[in-house]
């Protein structure tokens, strides 16, 4: 299949970017979206033009490195998928595809489609952990955890930290990410002792990074490659209110 691509090119964070049009010819429907970009890049290098920079690593949908807005949708049209797991069979011959980086103030563009998501790491550093040291822990079976709780925690823990939720949100809110990360630990008995501190500190860090507010429109859930549920946002709001109350 043959495609027309409009791709965001930006030299670095200080230089304004622009869309540039490229042709992608003889694309196989079995290629992944990133393999299609590989082919485009090989062609660019052959012509002496600088290839398009984009982040990627595992290419199997788990590392959370890749991510681009494809025709206005974070990670593209398929739903419940990362960009690397999106295959060209979901596009039509002759189609035009617009490709942009995540656009959110807390995620400044580094180059082309590459953005800086270190704000997420700082939110985790503010409290997204259980303060246990290595060693001296009780036997893994010392405390049974009801299966539904373990499963729900796992649903939240499945978040890959790709940032699609932020990119899709008109307010650039990180609520789905932060809620997933906080809930993963807050649901488990091991996470209970630090539950209040955790949610207060993570939300504070989220605000300090400049992420916007949540108006529960659900765009985040719609693009989340791991289908993290909006319910976790409600849960975090509840945990947050309780923590505020208890702090008083």
């Amino acid at each position: 299949m043959n495609l027309t691509l409009r791709i965001w090119r930006q030299k670095n964070s200080n230089t304004p970017g622009q869309f540039v049009e490229y042709k992608a010819d003889d694309i196989s429907p079995d290629m992944s979206f990133l393999e299609m970009l590989d082919i485009v890049n090989e062609g660019l290098i052959k012509r002496g033009e600088e290839p398009i920079a984009f982040d990627h690593d595992c290419r199997e949908g788990i590392c959370g490195t890749c991510g681009m807005v494809i025709n206005g949708v974070a990670h593209g049209p398929l739903g419940a998928t990362t960009t690397c797991q999106l295959h060209m069979r979901h596009f039509g011959d002759g189609q035009s595809i617009t490709i942009e980086p995540w656009r959110a103030r807390p995620f400044p563009v580094i180059k082309d489609l590459v953005v800086d998501r270190s704000a997420f790491d700082r939110v985790i550093q503010a409290g997204g952990y259980i303060s246990v040291r290595t060693g001296g822990t009780p036997d893994g079976n010392a405390f049974p955890i009801p299966k539904p709780d373990a499963d729900l925690s796992m649903d939240a823990a499945a978040c890959i930290g790709c940032g699609a939720c932020v990119a899709a949100c008109k307010n650039a809110s990180a609520m789905l990410f932060v809620a997933a990360k906080a809930s993963h630990l807050n649901i488990l008995p091991q996470g209970k002792p630090e539950k209040d501190r955790r949610v207060l500190n993570m939300v504070r860090a989220m605000d300090e990074e400049g992420f916007g507010n949540c108006t529960v429109m659900g765009s985040c859930e719609a693009v989340c490659p791991k289908e993290i549920s909006l319910d976790f946002i409600s849960r975090m709001n509840r945990d947050y209110l309780k923590a505020l109350w208890r702090r008083k």
Partner: protein, 645 residues
């Protein structure tokens, strides 16, 4: 290159004395400790932030050491450990099915085809139980029974159920546990994290590892970092085959640079080919995707009995199918170890009975399991894997069998380390997949996660103190001229890449190298093919340095430049891998020499001549490296032909 020069130098693995089961506890009781107040006087550099590097950084920092951790990814949470699906082994015997530390130890030694160091493996099995406790305390959401207790599954090469898992994302969850522990220490000021930073060289001062030189991948800035010890946790080199299940960024650079500075590289020819990957779909293929081996618990592997049978799988009656793993290995069936299953798949495809495009594939069929357990149970166990399969192939594996084919997955070889996980270079430690120590010639499923976390949480944090306490190494200083010298070498290399302006892209060279390695030094190897590869690799390398085209500048984010450096190192490393494969004139585990097989096609070891670790010492690119042999002495187990029949 001339003849192999065997060294007479004896490699001292520093294995503690005493009975096998007591070695580690005795050692821990005798190694020197550092006073808590003095620990903060020691700087430790950790390169890599996967299970090994992340857990080591967090733990060393908790103990009080000043840690700098480097990773090339944009966040330490993205290291390739994240992609491990199936699980982590531990000798908990929660299932009451006869498991024990000894049995896990024995299975690992046997799985490694008796080419691993006994004492290291026993210790690994011993600390495996602590890992599970640690991870549960960190909040890793392992799968549980309705009772609330931890669930297990079985894995290849074992007859007990000892694998702990978190759906099909065990690596992700364990890595997040280590990452969170690391985040806690970053917040506390104990670890300084350098994401998007790639180690380009090791700095040696007076024969000791004293620091590294790093490129900031965003600004291109080259900087030096000094430390009292350097820990490499930089993973494996499976991408030497171009197509592998490794993440695209995985590379050999850190360990190769260390090798060129004097560290010994051991057993590079032990490369594992994983049997259950999604087959190649065309020339555009950029990487291969693994389907967790846990699928073999319920999936049955087969091909048509007759050559050239192109009917759809559902139209082939049972009696015209060949369930070749069940037929050849009745005791283990579809759970035969990885190397054996991979070769069996290759064999039936070579016979012309392979399925799918190009005939390079075999079926992994769940129809019987769905009938036995119901669709919901299968969905519960493997739902995400079935989804992943559908996403990539466009096929629904609940309705038709999956197609799978072996792919490069894990590398057992790596830098040589002693029992303390220190290389022969004082102050240079190597942990996780980057070292060679625990898996022998073949790794069992669900053991990579175990080793990474064992090294990082429970072994290195003890052993590194002994080096600081006994070695009393001189304080490192960035003023030493060696740092400047290495920085200048790197700058020259960068300029060289950018100035060649040839005709071929880095990817084209990498693809060509990978194909050569896969054809001549992949799942099956022979003397003629290896010799041919040894001639072709230097020629390809020369062509690379004359004709590669790397655009852009050194002082910005430049992915082609990053990639060119990694491929340049693969071009050198590949030759050592092949040399090792040629020198090891026997078959063992994943290293299968066609010239050494039993009449029924199994690997034929030569214990008399090859029961050693091959540790290579660099002598310059055009000189054959020196081979040092560490004899493998078995006090506890009896060497036997590995049989899974």
């Amino acid at each position: 290159m001339g003849e192999v020069r065997d060294s007479t130098m004896r490699l001292d693995a520093k294995i503690p004395s005493g009975p096998l089961a007591e070695k580690w506890s005795r050692h821990r009781n005798h190694i020197k400790l550092i006073n808590p107040a003095n620990k903060r006087k020691f700087d430790v550099i950790v390169v890599g932030s996967g299970l090994a590097g992340g857990s080591a950084s967090a733990t060393l920092s908790e103990l009080g050491y000043k840690v700098k951790c480097f990773c090339f990814q944009d966040s330490p949470r993205r290291a390739h450990s994240i992609a491990a699906q199936g699980g982590i082994n531990a000798a908990k015997n929660y299932q009451n099915d006869g498991d024990s530390v000894y049995r896990l130890f024995y299975d690992t030694i046997k799985g490694g085809d008796f080419r691993a160091r006994e004492a290291n493996v026993y210790r690994l099995a011993e600390v495996s139980v602590n890992i599970i406790d640690q991870c549960v305390a960190q909040g890793v959401p392992f799968a549980r029974e309705y009772s609330g207790y931890l669930a297990n599954r079985s894995f290849g090469g074992a007859q007990v159920s000892r694998t702990f898992y978190a759906r099909g994302q065990t690596g992700q969850q364990l890595l997040l546990g280590a990452y969170q522990a690391l985040a806690k220490q970053i917040e506390a000021g104990g670890v300084r994290m350098y994401p998007r930073a790639e180690m380009l060289d090791l700095v040696m001062i007076d024969g000791n590892a004293k620091g590294i030189v790093v490129r900031d991948l965003v600004t291109g800035e080259i900087s030096s970092h000094a430390a009292d010890a350097v820990v490499l946790a930089t993973g494996g080199y499976g991408n030497v085959f171009f197509l592998s299940t490794n993440a695209k960024g995985c590379n050999v650079t850190a360990i190769w640079r260390a090798y060129k500075r004097g560290a010994l590289l051991a057993n590079p020819c032990y490369t594992q080919i994983h049997p259950t990957c999604i087959p190649v779909s065309g020339d555009h293929q950029s990487k291969l995707t693994l389907m967790s081996e846990s699928l073999r618990n319920d999936g049955r592997v087969w091909v048509p009995r007759n050559k050239g049978d192109h009917r759809a799988p559902g139209e082939i009656p049972k009696e015209e199918r060949d369930y070749f793993l069940e037929r050849k290995y009745p005791a283990y069936g579809n759970l035969a170890p990885r190397d054996i299953s991979s070769r069996a798949a290759k064999e039936v495809c070579d016979e012309g009975r392979g399925v799918g495009p190009g005939g390079r594939g075999v079926y992994l069929d769940f129809a019987d399991a769905i009938e036995r357990l119901g669709l919901n149970m299968i969905r519960e166990r493997y739902g995400n894997l079935f989804e992943m399969y559908e996403r990539i192939t466009g096929e629904d594996a609940y309705k038709a069998p999956m197609r799978i084919y072996p792919a490069s997955h894990y590398t057992m070889g790596g830098l040589w380390v002693d029992y303390n996980l220190m290389s022969n270079v004082p102050g240079l430690y190597v942990i996780g997949e980057a070292n060679f120590s625990d898996h022998g010639a073949n790794r069992l499923g669900a053991s990579a996660l175990m080793q990474g976390l064992a090294d990082g949480y429970f072994i290195l944090p003890y052993t590194i103190g002994d080096y600081f306490a006994t070695g009393r190494p001189a304080k490192p200083s960035l003023d030493h001229p060696e740092f400047k010298k290495v920085e200048e070498e790197i700058a020259r290399r960068t300029n060289k890449f950018l100035s060649i302006k040839g005709h071929r892209t880095v990817t084209e060279f990498h693809r060509e190298l990978g194909k050569l390695m896969w054809d001549k030094c992949g799942m099956a190897r022979n003397e003629a093919g290896l010799k041919e590869a040894l001639e072709r690799i230097p020629a390809l390398r020369q062509e690379f340095w004359e004709d590669v085209n790397v655009l852009g500048d050194g002082n910005e984010l430049n992915q082609s430049l990053e990639y060119s450096g990694r491929v340049a190192d693969f071009m050198e490393f590949a030759e050592l891998l092949v040399l090792d494969a040629l020198t090891r004139d026997e078959s063992c585990g994943a290293h299968f020499r066609e010239d050494h097989q039993t009449p029924d096609g199994e690997a034929m070891r030569d214990d008399e001549n090859f029961s050693y670790v091959a540790a290579w010492e660099y002598q310059g690119l055009d000189t054959r490296p020196i081979l040092h042999k560490e004899p493998l002495v078995y006090e506890e187990v009896h060497l036997a032909q590995r049989s899974y029949k």
